[in-house]
Structures are given as C-alpha cells and as structure tokens.
Amino acid sequence: MTKNYIVENLKKQIENFKDEAKAEKVGHVIEVFDGIAKISGLSDIKASEMVSFPNGETGVALNLEEDSVGVIILGDFSKIREGDEVKAIGQILSVPVSDLQIGRVLNALGEPIDGKGKIKTDKSNPIEKVAPGVITRQSVNQAVQTGIKAIDTLIPIGRGQRELIIGDRQTGKTAIAIDAILNQKGQDMICVYVSIGQKDSKLRKLQTRLEEGGAMDYTIIVSAGSSESSALSYIAPYTGVSIAEYFMDQGKDVLIIYDDLSKHAVAYREISLLLRRPPGREAFPGDVFYLHSRLLERACRRNKEYGGGSITALPIIETQSGDVSAYIPTNVISITDGQIFLETDLFYKGIRPAVNVGLSVSRVGSSAQIKAMKKVSGTLKLDLAQFRELEAFSQFGSDLDEGTKSQLERGKRAVEVLKQPQYAPVKTEDQVVVLYALTKGHMDDIAVDSIKSFEEGLTEYARRNAKTFYKEVIDTKMWSDEGEAELVKTITEFKQSIQK
C-alpha cells in the first residue's frame, strides 16, 4: 500500500463530507452527582431525548422543568464538570438491532461486551415504543414448551403470554428461566435474557451453561451489571424488548426473560429520588406501575395480517420472606397473565422445581396446551388438590378408609413425578406418557422411592415400543383409541419386565 493510495482514499472520503451551518440547542451543566446531571438551557428538548456531553458520554432527559432539565447519564459521569456544554441529539434513545446479535452478550446500550468484536449494523430501534394495539393482536394459541413437567402440565405458558416467576431468593427462579431457554433448541424460538443488577460472576456462569447446552445459537444476553450505574439497569429491559421486537417484526417467536424486575424497580426508585420526584409507597415513585406495565404490554402475539410473530415475557420478581403483598410483587402480578409461585419450604423438602401448584396460575396458557396434554393434566390437577387437603387432615388420625388412602398414595406419586432435576428438560410426548401412566393408576403399585427410576425406564421403553402413540401425539396432538391401547399394553409389558 503506497502513500499515494492512502492520500487518494482519504481525499475521496473527504469529498463526500458535507458541512452545513446549523443552529444547535445547547445547555450547560449546573450540577452533576450520582449519575444525574441538571442542565440549564436546552429549551426545545423532548422527554427521553438523548443528549451528548463533551467527553462523548450520552444522557437521557427525564425531567423537563421550567428552566432546567434533569438528565440521567449512561456511563461514566466522573469526567463531567459543572459548566460543560451539553448538546441535544434530537433523537429518542435507541439501540442497535441486528441478526448478528444472536449469540452475543450486550450491555444496556446494545453494545457487545463479550470481547468477540463489534457488531456492524445500521438499524436501530427506539427503546420506548407504544405496545402493539388491539387490532394487531391475536389470542394465545401455541405453547411455549419449557420442558419442566410441573409447568407444562399445570401452568402452561402460551406464545405471547406474560408469566411471572415469583419467589424468595434461592428458590430456583433463574433455574426455571434457564431450563426454559435450554429447551427452546429446535423449537424455532429466539431467546433474550435480560440480566438486571446481577453479579457478573452469575452472568458468566449462566453464559457458560447456555453455551454448553448449545443455547447461545439462538440466545441474546442483555446485561446491566450491579457495578454499573442504575441508569443502565433502568433502560436494560427496554433495550431487551426492543431487540426482541426486531425479531418479532420478522415474524419470529421470541422468549424474553427479565431477571429481575424487583432490582429494576429499585434502580428506577434511585433515579427518581435523585431527580427529586416525590416518593410514594415504599419510596417508589408514583409511576412505578406504568414502568412495568408499559414494558410487559409489549409482549404480545400478533396476528397474520400484521406479520405474525410473538414475544413471550417471563419476568422474575424476588420477594422478601414470601411477602407477595409488597408493592412491586402485587403490581407485577396484576399486570401479568399468571404467576409461577416458588416456595422455600418446598425447595428444602426436596420438591424441585419448588413450584407451589396451588398458588400458581396461568390465565391464558390452557388454550395453548395440546389436547393430549389437557387430557392427562386435568385429572392431575384434581389429584394434587385433593392430596393437599387430605395431607394436612391425615396427620391427625391414623385410621383412614380405603378411598382416602388411595388418594393419598396417588398424590404422593404425583408429587414425585413432578420433581425434576435442573438442566433436564423432558419432551412433551414423554410428559404425556408419564402422566398418562400416573393418572390412569398404572403407577399406584410402584413404591414411591422407585417412581423416578420407573419413569425414566418407562419413557425409554415406550419410545421404542409405543411408536404409534408417539407419532399420533406429535402429529395430531392427540391419541386415538388404537394408540391408547398400544400404550397401555406397553406400560403393562414394562411393569412385568421390571418385576422379573
């Protein structure tokens, strides 16, 4: 490469450069503290418009007052001084979006932080967008397979649904989300995991886990770590959903996980208090409900005329010692279409995932369940409810009649079947087989301790010997009498073979 070549190239590029004298609105920093700047001037600025500081940092205007503007600074604010000139960019905060983001770890501004190089894209989406309207929507009719038996059978989640995962610390909330991502392999789903205020070590562990499971081929991680400013925690979920919308606009189905929204609310509370907005209950600002409702409303299932595609949202909320009646949990419970309630007691009893089946609901998911699953899960729900009632009651007396005893035994087995280790998703067909065996009483004469091994053996055996049944469930979502007969025969054969 000669010197001339470089000069010529440079000349060519400079030729394209055009400069127009433009009147620009500027302001000056009055004060700056804790990631917040107060700026005078900037009279024409819009709400949540970006501003740029002289050292290249950007900010977002949140408070528009009579003669000053309150700005949150996205990034390092230590080099911003009083009197610095601030320019309005004239654009609402937006993040880059691209297909190339799949498999990457991004920060809250959509820039990669995994050291795998820059992502070239010229497209960007504003982080705040009005949620899709009623006429563009369609009701939920297709399931998200999480691979977790307790959820897929009793609390089914549909594509486009918003299902809250709520529970105390250390009850396996993230584990459910990760299992759900891992099970999306080959299900034509893009996953976005938004980590808000989490430890970087936890994120790294999670990323490695997803890579090992081959899930990073369809997953994007958006992270605002606990060492970063609360402004970034505040915008991270909106960044995540903007990226998700980019894929939904292509007609794809997206699963987005917000881990967790209680930290998001706390970050927003910090910003609001620093901006001197009046505090309300638990010191949260008045618009904390809107904060989450506008985010979760963007989850939707769009109808064919508007391009199809869906965003399924799984927000996570961490409660303090099981208190679901605190401000943020009640807010998010009322926004979402149901919740998966995890309990510490169950977790330590060894019932993992520690889903409290009685308190968990899915308000729209049942219409997305396949017919075969509906058939087997209907009686399961009843079995479990009766079991819980009798369990408390049976502790007082020892003399129980036959009917009660058999119900108790059935319940014990049902609880056992719903237990599942982490990172071990179960296919829908296998779930149907196991639950069929359970609800039709084929497991009643198996000892509770050996239910787990029986289950494993049965699915393996049935896969080989009840091919018609499997084919029917996969293709038509329901079994015929013929398939059922085959399955019953298979189960009996299998039981005979283990008794030998």
Binding site: Q13, F17, A21, K22, K25, G41, L42, D67
Partner: protein, 135 residues
C-alpha cells in the same frame, strides 16, 4: 405559605414597574426590596436581576448575543450579523458582545440564549474527524 420562585418574583416586579413614571417607580422599587428582604431572598438578588433582565429583554424585543471570532470583526461584518439576528429572531434591538478567541482558528460562533450557530474552523475540523471515524 409556599415559597415564591425567583421567576415569579422577577415577573411581579416587572409587571408592577414597567409602565410607571419616575416617582411611582421609586415607591415600587422600595416595596420590591422590602418583599425580597422579608422573604429572605436578598442573597438571591443577583439571580432576580438576571431574571428581570431576561423578562425585560423579551418584552422589549431585545436579543443578546455573544459572538466569538479569531480576529476582530470589521464593521461591515458586524452590521451583517446584526441584520441576520434581527431577521432570524424577529427582534427590534440587539445587544452584541464580542470575544476574541485564538483557538477557534477562523470563522465565527454566535451564541444566543441556549442556541449556538457554530461556523468556526475548529468545529468543522471536529465534524470532519467524527465523520471519518464513523465512516
């Protein structure tokens, strides 16, 4: 009672004084100072005067502009700038403040309120730099 904002105070002083003759003005001013001291706002008098100036400028159609250049501007250029400002902001009068700044390298920079028209060489070079980086 709610505290009075500086802006409101300045506006009140302006409203009560702008169409008064000299004798009345004296009395108005006395009252104004009395109120300011009563409300413990004497320490803010500088800001009140600033605000008062802004209000008066706005109502009298006066535009204050700060013009920076590398060299001292010729009279012809100054009248041209004045005309431009009057036309652009529909002002009757202008108060221009001139500044010499070697660092601008060339061209002029006009600052009016929170608006800046920057045609200096320095700014152009900066823009070119940004352009080449992002290209």
């Amino acid at each position: 009672m709610a505290t009075i904002s500086i802006n409101n105070l300045a506006r009140a002083i302006y409203e009560s004084s702008h169409d008064k003759d000299e004798a009345e003005l004296d009395a108005v001013m006395k009252n104004a100072v009395n109120i300011i001291s009563k409300k413990h706002l004497l320490s803010k008098s500088k800001e009140i005067i600033n605000q008062l100036e802004k209000i008066a400028d706005k109502n009298n159609g006066v535009i204050r502009a700060k013009i920076s250049s590398k060299i001292k501007l010729e009279q012809k250029a100054i009248t041209e700038i004045e005309d431009f400002i009057k036309k652009r902001y529909k002002a009757q009068n202008t108060v221009l403040e001139f500044q010499i700044n070697e660092k601008l390298l060339g061209g002029i920079k006009i600052e009016i309120g929170d608006e800046i028209i920057d045609t200096t060489l320095k700014n152009k070079i900066k823009k070119l730099q940004n352009y080449l980086i992002t290209k």
